[in-house]
Each structure stands twice: as C-alpha cells, then as structure tokens.
C-alpha cells in the first residue's frame, strides 16, 4: 500500500490540520463536546453541523437509513442557529484546534450573518450550498453558479480573513461550473461531494423509507462518484480540493488524493467497523516515517498524480 510520510504540518485550503482526515459536516457535529471528542480520537480537523440563520428542528424521522454499503439521510438541516456559538466553548483550547464552521443560508445576507457569528472562533468556514433535501437552502443554491458566486463572496467578506471552503453538490450536470464560481468569488478550497440525491421505498409499507420522502446518499456506494468529481475539479480549478464521499480506508484516502484532493472528509465512515476510531485507525495505516517501506511518499507528490497517467 502507498503510505504517506509523517509530517508535523498538514495544511489544506488554508487550514492547518493535524492529519488529512477531517470529520465531515453534519456528522457528530451537533455539540461542541462531540466535536472535541472526535478531535481527541484523532481527526485531523472537524467541521460543525451546518448552522443557518434560524433554528430548525429538521425533518421528521426516519432521518437516516443505514443500507449495505451506503447511508441515506434526510436530516433537514436541524440546527440551533446562533445558539450553537456557545457549543464551541466545550472545545478545549479552541484557538489551536482545526475547527471549521459549516454554514448555510438562503441568500448572501444569510451567509454573511451566520459567518459573522463564528468569525473569531474557528479556523475556517465551509459553505453548505449542496444539501439535497432542504427547500430553499443547500443544493438549491449549489445548482446555480451565480448564487454560489454571490454567497461565497458574502461569506468571504464576513469571514474576516479566514479561509472559506465551498462544499459542492454532485447533483448537477457540471460540477465544475459552481466550483469555478466559488474560485472566482475568493473561496480557498472546494469540497466534493455532498450527498447524492436518492430514495428508497419500504415495499411492505408502500412508502419512502425516509420521513422526508427523498434524501441523500453517502458512504462507500458514492465513493466512485466522489473520486470522479474530485478528478473533474482538479482539471477545472486551481484552488485546493477537499475530497468527501465514501472514504472508509487508508487506501481510499490515497485514492482521493491521487484524484486531486489535498485532504479528505469522513462522514458515514464512523458507522464502519472502526466506529469513531476510524480517524486513528486510518492514520495508523496511512502514515509512515520517511523511508519506511518503498511505497512511502510525500503527500504533495501524490495529490493529483493520477492525472499524469
């Protein structure tokens, strides 16, 4: 297996991380204590639950279906809005921690308002313009490159110099269009992908398995889709790409990086065999000392390397 040389410093999209594996937005990110725990369990960085301009209770259940090799969810962006700010107090020594606030809104003003709440407290922002099952939010922005531009611009301004990542939806004809908008608007990185539009039906109950009807797919099933998106983005934008979608193993991390990712996010992976130890377990397999094994390489040497085939 290809392994990555241990280094003191991993930086991706302007954020200093502890390793290449970041907790994805909406996964165990409802409380500060949980984010703190995941950091302690070895995540390279953590992203909060997506926070919006008003509190939302989210969709009725079932909100999550765990399928074989995939997760399907329709949470509906539940979040306590500005009440979340005090959650961050539970993160020990937050100033030195790679904590990224995921934010969403319905228009540029929302993004700038929500970003301003967190501006001093976190190391960066991730804009959720890509949730496939929230009316008026998420993907309804991400499908429109002009709106992506405006929202990114507003968030960058409100971010007070902190890096802004834009998380993209794969549910579009051309994912590079929104990525280019984000890049032009000053984003420090794009993140790909949010969940893939999906639905399952209980044949016995004759109704959708999710309370919301439709939802978004994540986990191993979408890994090949995510790799493809990262690949296409690598050829389209110059800003770094953060890979997300179905990462479960150290080799998956390497694969994402070879497609063009500077780091990866892990969400559904916490339901794998390692559970919340996935970050630690992957790191143990992924990193090696320089010269340990002939397939040990520098991270920067493999980012996007498969494009030169």
């Amino acid at each position: 297996m290809v392994r990555i040389e241990k280094t003191d410093k991993v930086t991706a999209g302007g954020v200093e991380l502890r390793n290449h594996m970041i907790l994805a937005a909406g996964i165990l990110g409802t409380t500060g204590a949980s984010l703190n725990r995941i950091l302690n369990l070895g995540a390279g960085g953590v992203i909060t639950k997506s926070i919006g301009p008003e509190p939302k209770t989210g969709h009725h259940g079932p909100t999550v279906c765990v399928l074989d090799g995939a997760v399907m969810n329709a949470m509906g962006l539940p979040n306590p809005s500005s009440n979340f700010v005090s959650e961050l107090d539970a993160i020990e020594d937050i100033g030195s921690k790679p904590v990224i606030a995921s934010i969403f809104g319905g228009n540029p003003e929302d993004f700038s308002k929500v970003a301003s709440w967190f501006a001093g407290r976190v190391r960066g922002f991730e804009l959720n313009v890509s949730c496939p099952h929230a009316e008026g939010y998420g993907a309804q922005i991400g499908c429109n490159p002009d709106l992506v531009y405006d929202c990114t611009k507003a968030a960058v301004k409100a971010a007070g110099g902190l890096p802004v990542w834009v998380k993209l939806t794969p549910n579009v004809t051309d994912i590079t269009a929104s990525a280019k908008s984000a890049e032009r608007a000053g984003a420090s990185a794009v993140v790909a992908i949010n969940t893939v539009k999906a639905m399952r039906i209980s044949t016995e109950l004759r109704r959708p398995m999710l309370g919301n009807g439709t939802g978004g797919l994540s986990g191993p099933a979408v890994f090949p889709i995510a790799v493809r998106c990262v690949w296409d983005l690598y050829e389209a934008v110059k800003i770094p790409i953060i890979g997300c979608g179905g990462v479960m193993t150290a080799d998956n991390v390497v694969e994402m990086m070879m497609a063009g990712a500077s780091a990866v996010e892990i969400g559904s992976g916490v339901l794998g065999l390692s559970g919340v130890n996935i970050f630690k377990d992957i790191a143990a397999e992924l990193y090696a000392d320089a010269g340990e094994g002939k397939d040990t390489v520098k991270a920067e040497d493999i980012i996007g390397c498969a494009h030169e085939y």
Binding site: G26, I27, L28, T30, T31, A33, S34, N36, R37, I38, K49, P55, K56, T57, G58, H60, G61, P62, T63, V64, C65, V66, D68, G69, A70, V71, N73, M75, P78, N79, P80, S81, N83, F84, E87, A90, S202, E204, L205, R207, M209, G211, G219, P220, M248, T249, N252, S268, G269, V270, L271, G272, L273, S274, G275, V276, N277, I278, D281, I282
Partner: protein, 281 residues
C-alpha cells in the same frame, strides 16, 4: 470508555453493514395504564436488556424505545409519535431497527438491583423475565400507573413506591433504596426520569463514601436524549462533556461516567440541538 469496547470488534476493512428497519406487524396491544401501552409484534429480536430500538411510526416519525421484550415495546403517550402509536391496533405495521445501543452489562450472575421510575421499568423488565433481577424497586406516580401488573412481582423481589401513596411506600423510589443492602448488589440498573436517576446517583455516592466502597460504578444508568438517527452518526444525542453518544455509546452508562456528565440532571438538547430541560422516561 464504553465505545472502544463496542466498536473495536473488527478491523476497519471498508465495509458498512445495513441496519434495516424490519417491518413488523403488531400482534397485541396491552393497556398497561391509562397512559402506557405495550405493543407486541410478530418478530423476536435478539437483544440484551437495556438495548433499544428505533420505532418507525409510518407517516409520523421514528422514535427511540427500549425493548421491553424480544418482541415488545412499552410506550408512554407524550406527544405526536406516541399518540399516533396509541392509535394502532393488532394487524398494523411499524418498522423496528433493533437492537441498538449497548444494554446493561451484568456479567454472569451476581446480585442485580433494578431501580425504575414510571415507564423506565420497560427496559429493565427483560432482566426480570430472564430471572436475573434480584430486587426491583419501582416508583410510580400512582397505583394505576404501575406497569406490567403482577408480572414483575412473580419474577423478582418487587418493592413499590407511589408519589401519592396509593400503593406501596408513600414517597419516592429512592426512599426504597434505604430498605435494601446496596452493598450486596453487584449491579444496580437504573432507568427513569433524570431527576430520579440523579437522586439514585446521589444516594450511591453517599453510600460509597460512608462505606468506602465504589458503589457508583456498580450503578448503570439508562439515559434518554433526543435521538434523530439512533445509530450513532448524527450527533443529536451526545452528552456533555465527553461527547458520548447516548444511542451508540449508551444508552446505558456506568455511574462514574454519568457522574462526570455536567448535563446529567441539568439540561439536554431538543430537536434543533438547542439546550433545554433534561428528558427521561
């Protein structure tokens, strides 16, 4: 921490296994009390006392419920989903994801003390049914709210307290703890309103100090937090300050873990993740 034990059962190999919602048919609805019903269904789940399930009430919601038997849940009507459940009859279908969470760990044998308040008796009932419960302290608002009729009394040394004195001791279930020799139990399994569980914990602490014996960590508390996913991915049920997931790392936690929780008995979070009053059965 409980979680490590739960989750380190295999090497991370990239696989992710389904947790299906099994569609079951309700076979019997038992009116336990005016506000509580037991729903039996046509499938037995393998489980450990204290493990729970996510109950899909079609068209309404999916909510967590302790398994009160391999094929049953015991439900108190408190709001939308539980009201909808109450309208269902034998023949109707619901979805059950089970077993979830960790359950009580009582090793093999030893003396087991169960302490329940109200519908908190539900997840403790399987201990009695399997003959592993030595003593059961059951608190209830009033006589008519006592669950499971005579069933518990037949399987264990049952002692009752009611707030209004209509049955058993007139007072709180915690009062009953003074009647028994706490030191003689290997496990003390607790489930009920959080304020009551806080009382139990306090008594265990006092007794521990008095006797210089660690009774706190013999205590096992089944917690309730707002659960959206029930499977450990969403984060809605996490407990301060450790960030443990009640759905996956719990719902049962050892007394020493609970003791460290600054939110236990003080606050919890609602559907949006905002802080609110604590839950509990």
């Amino acid at each position: 921490m409980n979680t490590e034990r739960n989750e380190k059962n295999g090497r991370n190999n990239g696989s992710l296994k389904a947790i299906p919602s099994e569609i079951v048919r309700i076979t019997r609805v038992i009116d336990e009390t005016p506000s509580v019903k037991t729903f039996e269904f046509d499938k037995d789940f393998e489980f450990k006392a204290g493990q729970f399930c996510m109950v899909w009430v079609p068209g309404v919601d999916e909510i967590p419920m302790g398994l009160s038997a391999a094929n049953a849940i015991t439900v108190q009507k408190v709001g939308e989903a539980t009201e909808a459940l109450f309208k269902l009859n034998a023949g109707d279908k619901i979805g059950i994801k089970a077993p979830l969470g960790n359950g009580f760990s009582i090793g093999n044998g030893g003396r087991v003390l169960a302490i329940a308040g109200g519908v908190g008796a539900a997840p403790l009932r399987p201990l009695v049914r399997s003959g592993r419960c030595t003593t059961f302290l059951l608190g209830s608002r009033t006589a008519s709210e006592i669950l499971y009729g005579d069933e518990l009394a037949q399987g264990t040394d049952l002692r009752i307290a009611t707030d209004d004195g209509t049955k058993g001791h007139h007072g709180f279930v915690t009062d009953l703890m003074k009647e028994v020799d706490l030191l003689s139990y290997n496990s003390i399994c607790v489930c009920g309103p959080e304020i009551m569980m806080r009382g139990v914990l306090r008594l265990l602490k006092e007794k521990s100090e008095d006797t210089n014996t660690d009774l706190v960590s013999r205590g096992q508390f089944s917690l309730v937090r707002y659960m959206k996913c029930g499977v450990g991915i969403c984060g809605s049920c996490c407990l301060d300050p450790e960030g443990l997931r009640v759905c996956r790392d719990g719902p049962v936690f050892a007394g020493d873990i609970v003791e460290k929780s600054r939110e236990f008995g003080t606050y919890s979070r609602d559907a949006s993740g905002s802080r609110t009053m604590p839950g509990g059965h």
